[in-house]
Symmetry: C2
Subunit: 361 residues, 2 copies
Amino acid sequence: MLIEMRGELSGGKVVVEGSEAEILGFRGFGKKKDRIVLSLEEAAVLLETSKLVITDEGGTDLTLAEFLKLAVEIAPKFGVRYLVYRDLKGRGYVVQPGRADFWLYPRGVKPGEKPARYFVRIFSERDCISVKELGELLILARNMRKEPILAVADEESDVTYYEVKEAKLETQEGKEGGDDITEKVTVTLLGDRVILWDTDVAEYLYRTYFFGTLTKEKRLLLSFPEAVYLMKRGLLELNGAPLESQYSNVKPLNGERLIKYARSIEPEFMDKYQVYADLMEKGLIVKTGFKFGSHFRVYRATQQKHSLYLIHMLPEDHVFTLPELSRAVRLAHGVKKRMIFAFREQEGGALRYVDVGRMKL
Amino acid sequence: MLIEMRGELSGGKVVVEGSEAEILGFRGFGKKKDRIVLSLEEAAVLLETSKLVITDEGGTDLTLAEFLKLAVEIAPKFGVRYLVYRDLKGRGYVVQPGRADFWLYPRGVKPGEKPARYFVRIFSERDCISVKELGELLILARNMRKEPILAVADEESDVTYYEVKEAKLETQEGKEGGDDITEKVTVTLLGDRVILWDTDVAEYLYRTYFFGTLTKEKRLLLSFPEAVYLMKRGLLELNGAPLESQYSNVKPLNGERLIKYARSIEPEFMDKYQVYADLMEKGLIVKTGFKFGSHFRVYRATQQKHSLYLIHMLPEDHVFTLPELSRAVRLAHGVKKRMIFAFREQEGGALRYVDVGRMKL
């Protein structure tokens, strides 16, 4: 560029006036009026690439170092915003810095021509995001009809992008297991799981509905969520009362008694169980996700070989550190599954499922 | 087996007497005296495979269901111990159940012939293990000259084994960076990182010692640990004092001032920094592990392409849930790295590095 364009740092923005402003305007920077008001991020990138000279209010030229130092004083989050802005521009996107988020346009589109497709929320590796905020982000996205992106600048100043969306888990294909079992079968408590003794029912529940683990001796080892689920449907009967001494005033009511016991060894059992039951009712096949560090791995009935989702239930007041989020998503990605977090927006509220995935921009 | 062997459940053990005991003795079960005393796990497996009839003290035969129910009443951890015992026997190992741990012998070896090689600590998917316990396990292992294994039975009654060992991180090959820089270079704070302006020094530190990230404009973006490390060695000078208003009584002492600022935005910064500095002093190359959800990924100077370790610093009172441990180890394994947890056994104590890996038995 041959013209030396000049802007003035004033009131936390950089103002470019006159004909110079027009040139910038056509390049997707700033806001078009009679003058262009550049955000600090826009100005910094133009200064860095020698396309703009920035002066202070006294008219003295600022070096990039001076400008960055002032920018950090004006906006404490400037550092990480600047890194993300630079990164997105470098990838050929049109980006408009807003107060909290950046607006991201499809490549080659000028602001005003088409609406922004994404809004980008900006984080540093050491920031946190709460489950509540994730939920709010999705509501905001729905209202604005845009898709949310989390941009995280790590210590190497590398930016990782995550897409966040409502998980679509509904399915027509499954059927709930065990309706054709007419007599109650006996199970025995074995620590934190139960054994089902009837070898025919064991094999049937295992092969047809993928419940439990079948032993060599054709007995079925059921997890607590599985056992409670089948008991609530009247299919199982708990043999004996090994816990009667502890719960002598509790009538052996099967399901309820097992839940009470399960909660005594796993306080958040019910939260987890409700997700389990909800997924089962959606016709999905649900197994433990222990090997992947999450509560459940979930299959579709028509595609049993490879589990599709890892699902982890979180308390409604959970706060993610970003490395924690990164770890869960990276792991799911590495084993070709989607990472889904389940939570309630408020205590007793409906279950929500949020799908968070790595995004290649 | 043609002889019907009989044992009696008595005092929390199953006792087999006389000639029958001898036969069992040769098969690596129980304890050899004039009679054989079987642990509950041993007895349950023999009962399950119809090799033993177990009676109660009144002489009445017990079904497997009855026996398991009694066993859980006697030993609350019986359920998961039984699953792990069955699994190890099924894999052809000789196992001796002890009070807390199982003793595991190499395949085909009889107890007494050779010492046990491993001790196996038993967990359910919903148990926890503290960093303190991990440390104690290693001390125990050293004293007993055995290797520790964690066995975790998940909800599917599948058992996953983890080896735990001291990490060997020492290296002779590395050299610390920057000794050949004689003049202080200026850096500017940019949010939660710093920029180094001198393009020659930037390129030198980046290419020779792998510090930071080099921008297109040949400026070096350094993370706080990197910047503090170089400052403590007198190589960098912080430009200006953007935080003077906040810390007006703090003299601009470079390293210390930056640490104070870093701690204000990341309270556990020093813990993390001390691990960084320790690894650097061992001659290793240390970068952020954000993409893998841990603090650092670590390379050896002679093998820069692929990082070897993921290292995560934990507070000394940290308690792992087992899914959390599983997630970290699974992720590291999936990207062909070792998962190493750093911690201090007590506040102010020496740093310890524990390597936890999946083990195929």
